[in-house]
């Protein structure tokens, strides 16, 4: 056996109230794809940040090539051959591809040389990219290429990838895997963070599983079933949502060639989106991030006014109605971003009920507020949706992602909506909470509500939706019954591989 490239011994990192990592040890060998597996909040990001020098461990050591490795900051880690592709938050929209790449390098060559190098590397690895383009104009997949190329230009020994496939179509995932295999064949080690088990079984040589900050074991993914890995991750079994019988009712919400101009410079405009949402069904809208999901939700919730007739609820044109008027008609929505959009972070849960419940729950009468009613409504949501919180007076920000998500979705469901629109209902939520939310959505549909679920999690949509369509560059694909779809078809609906090509191995 070869000497490990990076060996981690007893890393511990605590934050106030939580121990993010406790006594974590494992090795990464040169030339392997090593998966770091775990639920949201299991401590994967903290561990990776320690390796990349963004966070200092409280105790424990790391050795790179056998010598002590204590990166004090990312540039230090980069100089020693560790590079990282982030899930989000590391690109600058208003800057060009080349400028973005230069910012992540220690001693970047002059811009012109750098641009040439970017072209060269991007071709070698099958990731075509124009160095002069503004990053804000790129698709999610292209943005990821910028990050990957930024790393490759430094010729790393260890490449860390944080949830790289969450923004890719199935075809793009295949191509990425080819690129990664080419890299490992050159001796590069890859630390691959994901919670997608099938993906890890296809790609990775070994997997280390984290649960609540602890290493609960290393396994060979190819030899381990997805079920077994899931149990390692979660610890105990939880009820998977039960599929229900579909009974499609009357058409409730009709989108008739809905076009919306993106409100922000780097948003995606919706182009003639048409669909009919029936009572009792869940319609799933898939697609890679940034293909118009936020705009669709805003147009449906009423935050973005549209042509009156393009949006009809039971034959009433509602395109110009503001959010509150739509709620009065029974249409509710839950946006993707919990903190700051679906809920006000600094406000208590009681106060947060007023965002959508002011009239439906009689929390305000002629403008005057009934705080006691708001509190009991908040307490009802907390009880019905199993929200773990010390009480209704706690600030939304103080809740964990999963619990706040349960509160937000629960709040909308407690209004007994006739039409419900949700965007990314289980994003960043632990498996148990995700299962709970999915079950609640299906139960609500069974009671006759019309539900539109926008999500980037294909597994989720395949599991809960009756019909499926995908958003691609602001256009909606044809709508198909979920049961009849193959992965291949879904990928093509999502826009296939865009303009990527397989690496020239």
């Amino acid at each position: 056996m070869t000497e490990p490239l990076l060996s981690i011994e007893g890393l511990t990192k605590a934050y106030p109230g939580v121990v993010a990592n406790e006594d974590v040890s494992f090795d990464i060998r040169a030339g392997e794809v090593h998966a770091l597996l775990g639920e949201n909040g299991a401590g994967k990001s903290t561990l990776v940040k320690m390796i990349y020098g963004l966070v200092k461990p409280d105790s424990g050591t790391m050795h790179l090539h056998g010598s002590l490795f204590t990166p004090s900051e990312p540039s230090d880690a980069r100089q020693q051959g560790v590079a990282m592709v982030f899930q989000h938050f590391s690109l600058f929209d208003a800057l060009t591809v080349a400028e973005n790449v230069a910012l992540g390098m220690e001693n970047p060559p002059p811009m012109r040389t750098l641009a040439a190098r970017i072209r060269e590397v991007s071709e070698t690895y099958g990731l075509p990219l124009d160095p002069t383009r503004i990053v804000g104009d790129l698709s999610a997949g292209e943005r990821q290429r910028v990050e990957i190329i930024r790393c490759l230009l430094q010729e790393p020994r260890l490449l860390i990838m944080d949830e790289p496939t969450s923004v890719l179509t199935p075809q793009e995932v295949e191509i990425l895997f080819e690129t990664l295999r080419k890299l490992t064949s050159e001796g590069v080690a890859i630390l691959y963070i994901s919670h997608k088990l099938e993906e890890i079984r296809t790609l990775c040589d070994r997997a280390t599983v984290l649960r609540r900050g602890r290493n609960v074991g290393t396994c060979d993914p190819a030899q381990t079933t997805a079920q077994a890995m899931a149990e390692m991750m979660v610890g105990s079994a939880f009820a998977a949502p039960a599929r229900r019988n579909t009974e499609r009712g009357d058409a409730r919400l009709v989108l008739d060639a809905l076009s919306v101009r993106a409100p922000s410079a780097f948003g995606t405009s919706l182009k003639k989106v048409s669909l009919t949402l029936h009572a009792g069904e869940i319609l799933g809208i898939g697609g890679v991030a940034g293909n118009g999901q936020d705009e669709l939700l805003a147009a449906l919730s009423g935050e973005l006014p549209v042509t009156p007739g393009a949006l009809r609820l039971d034959d009433t044109p509602i395109g110009r109605l503001p959010p509150q008027a739509r709620r009065d008609l029974g249409l509710f929505a839950a946006p993707e971003e919990r903190l700051g959009h679906a809920a006000a972070p600094e406000m208590s849960l009681t106060e947060n009920t007023l965002l959508t419940g002011a009239t439906r729950q009689g929390l305000s009468q002629r403008g005057f507020l009934h705080w006691s009613r708001a509190r009991s409504f908040a307490e009802k949501v907390i009880a019905d949706f199993d929200v773990r919180t010390p009480g209704a007076e706690v600030a939304a920000r103080a809740l964990s992602g999963g619990n706040l998500q349960k509160f937000v979705i629960g709040r909308e469901m407690a209004h007994d909506p006739e039409v419900l629109i949700v965007n990314q209902p289980t994003w960043g939520v632990d498996a148990a909470a995700a299962a709970f939310i999915r079950q609640a959505l299906m139960d609500l549909a069974a009671k006759g509500a019309a539900i539109l679920v926008i999500s980037q999690d294909l597994d989720e949509l395949m599991q809960i939706s009756d019909r499926f369509a995908a958003l691609n560059a602001g256009r909606l694909s044809d709508i198909h019954p979920t049961a009849s779809l193959t992965t291949e078809q879904v990928g093509l609906m999502m826009g296939g591989a865009h303009d990527m090509e397989v690496a020239h191995v």
Partner: protein, 306 residues
Amino acid sequence: MDLSAIDPILLLASLIVASTPILLAALGELVAERAGVLNLGVEGMMITGAICGFAIAVNTGSPFIGFVAAALGGAVLSLLFGLLTQVALANQVASGLALTLFGLGLSALLGQGYQGIKPPPTRSLDIPVLSDLPVVGRILFSHDLMVYLALALVAAVWAMLKYTRAGLILRAVGENHDAAHALGLKVVLVRLLAILFGGACAGLGGAYLSLVRVPQWTEGMTAGYGWIALALVVFASWKAGRVLLGAWLFGGISVLQLNLQPTGIPIPVEYLSMSPYLITILVLVIMSGDKSRAPGSLGRTFHASQ
């Protein structure tokens, strides 16, 4: 009315002098804003620079030392803002207002006893040949060192932002501080430096008012110039070159209205005096359609959490 009393050459020459204080202050603020910091304390830093420069120049007899003191004074005051917003994570709008109110009080206090004094003169550069050119010589080459320093600073800031790594880092920090932090860039340090630069520039601009343009010390003498400088940054779409253009425009207007006042033009003096402010509003209205150029993290508080 006698418009012939206005000498166009003198008018253009004084336009350049009149625009220099706003140009300096706006340039400093531009750098701070490109780093993502909205410092509404320009007025306070300017007036502090005005009195620091004035007092030191009077006491040492050297306008040069005065200007150095003004830059230091502005920078020290801006450091207070920097500590508040970058270390204590206070709201930038509130902190900027505090800086202005504090600076106005501080300058009034420091300025006790300096009213009605004449500062030592700041000498014009005598550039051989160029200064003697007809027309152009008087408009462009008859000024003091600060005028050329301000112009050089415009070029330097422009080149720094466009061509250097420091400029790229500054822009990146202003664009998206979370991403910059993830890449290991030192967001707080970069911003503190930008704030200090902004403070020094505002201080210089203020001292140019009290030492050259007016030249004397009166309480509240900046009279909104600092705020106009802030407006100028918006007008310039956060571009150094356009700040110069904007400063000339405002310099031109204030010089023109001053020159019109004694000509007996049938517009009351008060209306002429309010024109720079009205035109600032007008320009803001015209420019506010295009917000896309504003740095992405402008005015937002950065705290590296976990």
